[in-house]
Homo-oligomer: 289 residues x 2
């Protein structure tokens, strides 16, 4: 049995769907997994073989909300991973934590994406950062040296579905866009590869779980026009300063991650262009039905 | 009724003792105050007029232990203040949080001590710091803008008693000492002044609650010799580097705080020399009995 903490979240729902009957979704209202003894009893009761922590605190509608919910953000993103680690190590149950690539900014000075070996550079220890990014980086720090633990770094999830959390939907909805280069994660593929870590013989550790390569916001809007998803004239902020002044309370992480570790481990995700075009085509089909 | 969270701690015990029957001490085994609903019910049940949060996570025997208990440290020092804030603001109960001066390093560039207006410079956002200092600074960040909330910054508590937490006892016990300049807090006076904030008409806010002035470790050892507390030849590390290499896992905060805000508010503590000599004389009396 795979125990999935935070079953109702955007990412968790997809993992639950893909995992089917092997997955037992648990929400905080079912089980107070912030209490180590309660979580431990649950894992013993259901004979958990693996635990997936998808119970992070993100902030709605976006990370700005985390600036106003600091303790909840710390509790969900930095304390909870520590509690789960303690319980899982005690019971010797392997597990995976859904982390975020939003603990980096930009690209590496050598021009490559940030690898799993690089220290976060968009974190409390390396300001500026968002409160969200700070807590996610602390969460990884809390997991340093964890036994039998996967840390899956997701970034900017997207797929073909109409959801306010879907990056492609956001691009279509936002009045103004910020031009930036980013690694992004196809949600369904991300969920699939996380589950493969459980069934295949993958070495535990940190993995950048994004589609290979990177996109720029302008490139995405051009693909959208080419795929007939939108014929609108997309409007861009003139600069990151203008974006910060007009539309944001806290800085955003825009960054490129290196995915070669996941590729070597056999859990690579498709090249980003392929995944995006595929999503856009499905999105268009759904819109035209 | 004053509700005191974390009743068994070193600082809390003193507050409980001084507050007498007005104080209801609560420990985590009595009441799970990490749950907002549980804490709220308690405060309503006992008609709390004030809450003192003395339930921080310090690490035993010293802050190095916090590096190995990261989630507990975050939970106790950064998340808990947020939970208490939420509950106290909801019930309109004034409260005080015991913070730490260990979120600063050194003295201000202008040669004065750090004031309550200065941003922490020994914190995750301003590295290097200890994990302990980082979490205490985050705790203050979580309390930014809190209503009817005192933040009392304690530093290096001392008095005349034999306790492994008493700074003077530590000086007597340690094999080697680190020479450094510091603000320090007479424990009993600190507790007394916190209680006065409740009974007197003191404006809520952050207060550096240390004895005025500062000490150096060498000065303290000289006073000890003068007061006949010890005739041993105190031994010092040659440098902070040697100290870090031989005796510590994480950097220590050594800093001087400005106490003029507390003085203006009528909750000043004695000059540090007076408080220290007094403690040493009492200590000597107790040793000679």
């Amino acid at each position: 049995m795979i125990v999935l903490l935070g079953k109702t979240g955007y990412i968790a729902s997809r993992i639950a769907q893909l995992g089917g009957s092997k997955v037992l979704g648990v929400s905080l209202s079912d089980t107070d997994y912030f209490k180590a003894s309660v979580l431990s009893d649950l894992l013993k009761d259901v004979k958990a073989e693996f635990v997936v922590n998808a119970a992070g605190y993100t902030g709605k509608p976006n990370v700005d909300a985390c600036e106003l919910a600091k303790y909840e953000c710390l509790q969900g993103n930095a304390v909870l991973p520590g509690i789960i680690r303690e319980v899982c190590e005690d019971l010797k149950v392997p597990w995976g934590h859904i982390s975020s690539g939003c603990i980096y900014s930009g690209i590496r000075p050598d021009g490559n994406g940030w690898s799993e070996e690089d220290n976060p550079n968009f974190s409390f220890r390396c300001p500026p950062c968002s409160f969200y990014g700070g807590t996610k980086a602390l969460g990884e720090e809390v997991l340093e040296g964890a036994e039998n633990c996967f840390v899956w770094r997701l970034r900017i999830p997207f797929n073909h579905e109409q959801s306010p959390r879907n990056y492609l939907q956001k691009i279509l909805n936002y009045k103004n866009l910020l031009e930036a280069e980013n690694s992004v994660s196809h949600l369904d593929e991300f969920a699939q590869k996380c589950l493969e870590c459980i069934t295949k013989d993958v070495e535990p550790g940190i993995y950048n779980m994004t589609n290979s390569g990177s996109i720029t916001t302008r490139q995405v809007t051009e693909w959208m026009q080419e795929q007939g998803l939108s014929d609108k004239q997309f409007s861009f902020f003139q600069s990151e300063d203008e974006f910060m002044n007009l539309a944001a309370k806290t800085p955003r992480s825009n960054c490129v991650l290196d995915t070669s570790k996941a590729e070597k481990a056999g859990i690579a995700m498709r090249p980003v262009e392929e995944a995006m075009i595929d999503s856009m085509q499905k999105m268009r089909l759904e819109l035209s039905v």
